[in-house]
Amino acid sequence: MKKKFGVLLLSFILVFSLASIVGAQEVKKEDTFTYVTIGNQNTLDPHFSYDTGSAEIIYNVYENLIAYQGETVTEFVPLLATEVPSEDNGLIKDDGTTYVFPIREGVEFSNGNPLTPEDVKYSILRGMINDRSGGPIWMLYEPLLGLGSLQGLVTEVIGEDVSPADLSAEQSAEVFAELEKVVEVDGNNVVFHLQEGPYPPFLNILAQGASWGSIIDKEWSIEQGAWDGSPETIADYYDPAKENDPLYAKMMGTGPFMLTEWVNGDHVYLKRNDNYWRKPANFKTVVFKNIDEFSTRKLLLQRGDADMVYVPNQFLSQVEEMDGVTVTKGIPAQQNLSGIMNWEIAIKGNDSVGSGQLDGKGIPSKFFADKDVRMGFINAFNFKAFIEDVRLGNAYQSGGPIVRPLLGTSPDQPVYHQDLEAAEEHFKKAFGGEVWEKGFQLTLLYNTGNTARQAACDILKTYVEGINPKFKIDVRGVQWSSFLDTLLQGKFTIGFIGWLGDFPDPHNWVTPYLASDGTFGGWKGEAYAEWATEHTDPLIAEGIKTVNPKDREEIYKELQTLALEEGTDLWMDQPTGHNVRRDWVKGWYPNAMRPGLDAYILDKK
């Protein structure tokens, strides 16, 4: 028996060592680019996509009319259009309500179909008809029609209680007539008509990187079963379930790459479009690998299996000293983190507010409607520790909802500072001294896995509890689902949450945070809505209707200052982006609006 074991053991060792030797002989290919990142792709349909995972694939396959120039987010270069519209070249007309895009000739989709202005019109209308719930298409409705969604248009045209999904053919045609007014084919041009006045960030909304502005092939899309181009069929194509969306897993763009395989959550394979209208890309194959474990990604990078990897901020130090790896840090990214203060907490059935009264064992509904309470919390927060220890220095402190370098911000803008004495003073004044005397108890929630939000909660807890022993804060991690649930139901106290910019314009930042019906502002109850209606809503409305950048800047500065001084929320920071790649990757430069990888600009030779 011993002998048999020996043989068995020996053969195992042999196989293993053989495996190691054979397996180590990998080849580093120059014509393949491998990018290893996290997460997955929600969809490959550009009109459905509203996540960076999808957007970065779409970015490499589909193209928009224009693109950002280099690292800027305010300058454009033409892409599928031959010129970037501006007032100077006369392609923006009628006080900024008409945009003319001359369409490039000789461009083909990767199936060989030529690009026509009809394709552009179809792309825009298909997106607006598709208008999926929770999707990005509001960004087309808002500038073009001054509305939020197709539902809004249907309500306006047909009546209150009709859903776009229930439109009859005639009703559909009626709605479609309104839709068609916004985009028109004029010879070789496509002309957009902004129905409700000017909308300064309209070009940003259409620029490459915004997947909803992608141009798709009309003929091919109809073949796949997407909107058939008929005015009467809106109901059939409105808000599809993701899995029934015909373009969910298929792509046909004019871009430098074509889709070869998509295994969701695992990988996407792209191959070069050899028929590309510009110089063909440098890589025959582009691989997007999705690997959630950082340690795995790190090793792939170290061994050179990956050319570029996603590294979370906290682990940057682990790759910075790695040989043969380039790390670019401090890229201003269009994202921020703030503590949303709930001005009117839903008390009923809420275990975050203790007794629901100001009796030392809970907090009342309008706890955070008191400016002194808010300023107490704000002054207690250790911003320096958060940025230095949690962000490891890779963040700018926010001076309000708007992120740098957009209008209304500046590198030397005023920000909050920890001032425990001021915090104590504010707490002493809050609720006429009652807060100080009785104390309070509340729960801070964060979604588990998000270490930055957890650290923010812990920091707040540490310092606020240190001010007065009667102040009690519980910090509790919950799943994303529960976290979202408490936010939606207005049951949160201070909710730490971030916003990811849709387009680089301050309007996209003040609206969610400060508007009375903003995505975040809307969670803060009636108390906030009243305040916002009076103070911020008019400024926000004025800001988007103003064309002159100078005037706009003043408005957004005012909003930023208002938010900071009033302490509407706990304005924290704007984490900066970074990029980690092997030294042999050439040609990379940052752009804050690029969703991820732009394989076309890169080279490995």
Binding site: S295, A455, D458, G477
Partner: protein, 292 residues
């Protein structure tokens, strides 16, 4: 065999004595936790205090003799209070699930027929999901928290005992003295209490002691996967989950963060080892088949 005799044998056996020694060591740690690692917040001693906000673990130092893990949680504190957590989870889950198992097994075995069939099919259903998988589903649904972990482990932890109990009861039931008792008209509950349970309890006790280790492992696995104890809670599994991102160290120094995984890893391994040693010896002593 009498309890005293069993205990004596357990102490005489070198292996089980080693196991008992470790258990006693952990008991002492648990009891003296407030002195060994004074909590920052006496109302909530199980939350590990953070020694800062930085994400990178820091090696053992004078202030933190075992170092700090990701997020600057003090490893020493976590180990000390984690021992309490381990005992709490182990004893409560094993205790309650064993009781439920005894109840269901006894009822099924004693009454037989339709009741038995129904109860056993229900048991089959519960047994048709891998324990860990089922526990993950239920804790995810109930949300994080040690109580929820315990609920999940109890919900899916009673079936083994129930089956064991049922077969024991069936065996005993077939014996004559029970039939005699029935013939004498003794009522059901008295029969069950007096004869069946007293005669079948030993295998169940062995089973329970053997399960202590595996229950604690499962509970910490849940914490490791991020569905168990709340973040920052003194739980060994969670402390190991803090080490996940640091396992590979940095280039040229692969073992840089060894303390984040090895220290809590040893704690949990020794804890389970001790129970398995005792359980093993216990079985050897009580199982006449293995006697020489």
């Amino acid at each position: 065999m009498e309890w005293q005799e069993v205990l004596l044998k357990l102490i005489k056996n070198k292996i089980s004595l080693f196991g008992i020694g470790i258990i006693i060591f952990f008991v002492i740690i648990s009891i003296s936790a407030p002195w060994l690692a004074p909590p920052a917040d006496p109302d909530d001693p199980y939350m590990i205090p953070r020694a800062g906000w930085s994400i990178q673990p820091k090696p053992p130092s004078e202030d933190h003799i075992f170092g700090t893990s990701e997020g600057q949680y003090d490893i020493f504190y976590g180990i000390i209070w984690g021992a309490r957590t381990a005992f709490r989870v182990g004893l409560i889950v094993v205790g309650i699930s064993t009781l439920i198992g005894i109840l269901i097994g006894t009822i099924a075995g004693f009454y037989g027929g339709v009741i038995d069939e129904i109860l056993m099919r229900i048991t089959d259903v519960f047994l048709s999901m891998p324990f860990l998988v089922a526990a993950i589903v239920l804790t995810t649904i109930l949300g994080k928290g040690l109580d929820n972990v315990m609920i999940a482990l109890v919900t899916f932890g009673w079936m083994g005992t129930a089956r064991l109990m049922r077969s024991q009861v069936l065996e005993i039931k077939a014996e004559e003295f029970i039939q005699a008792a029935e013939a004498l008209g003794a009522n059901d509950i008295r029969i069950i209490m007096k004869h069946v349970i007293l005669n079948t309890i030993f295998p169940v006790v062995i089973n329970a002691s053997m399960r202590m280790g595996s229950i604690v492992i499962t509970a910490s696995s849940l914490s490791f996967l991020g569905v168990g104890a709340p973040t920052g809670y003194a739980d060994w599994g969670q402390m190991i989950s803090f080490s996940r991102n640091w396992i590979l160290g940095s280039q040229g120094n692969a073992l840089q963060f060894w303390y984040t995984v090895l220290i809590p890893g040893l704690a949990i391994t020794f804890f389970c080892l001790s129970w398995n040693l005792v359980g093993d010896a216990f079985r050897d002593i009580l199982d006449p088949k293995l006697q020489n």
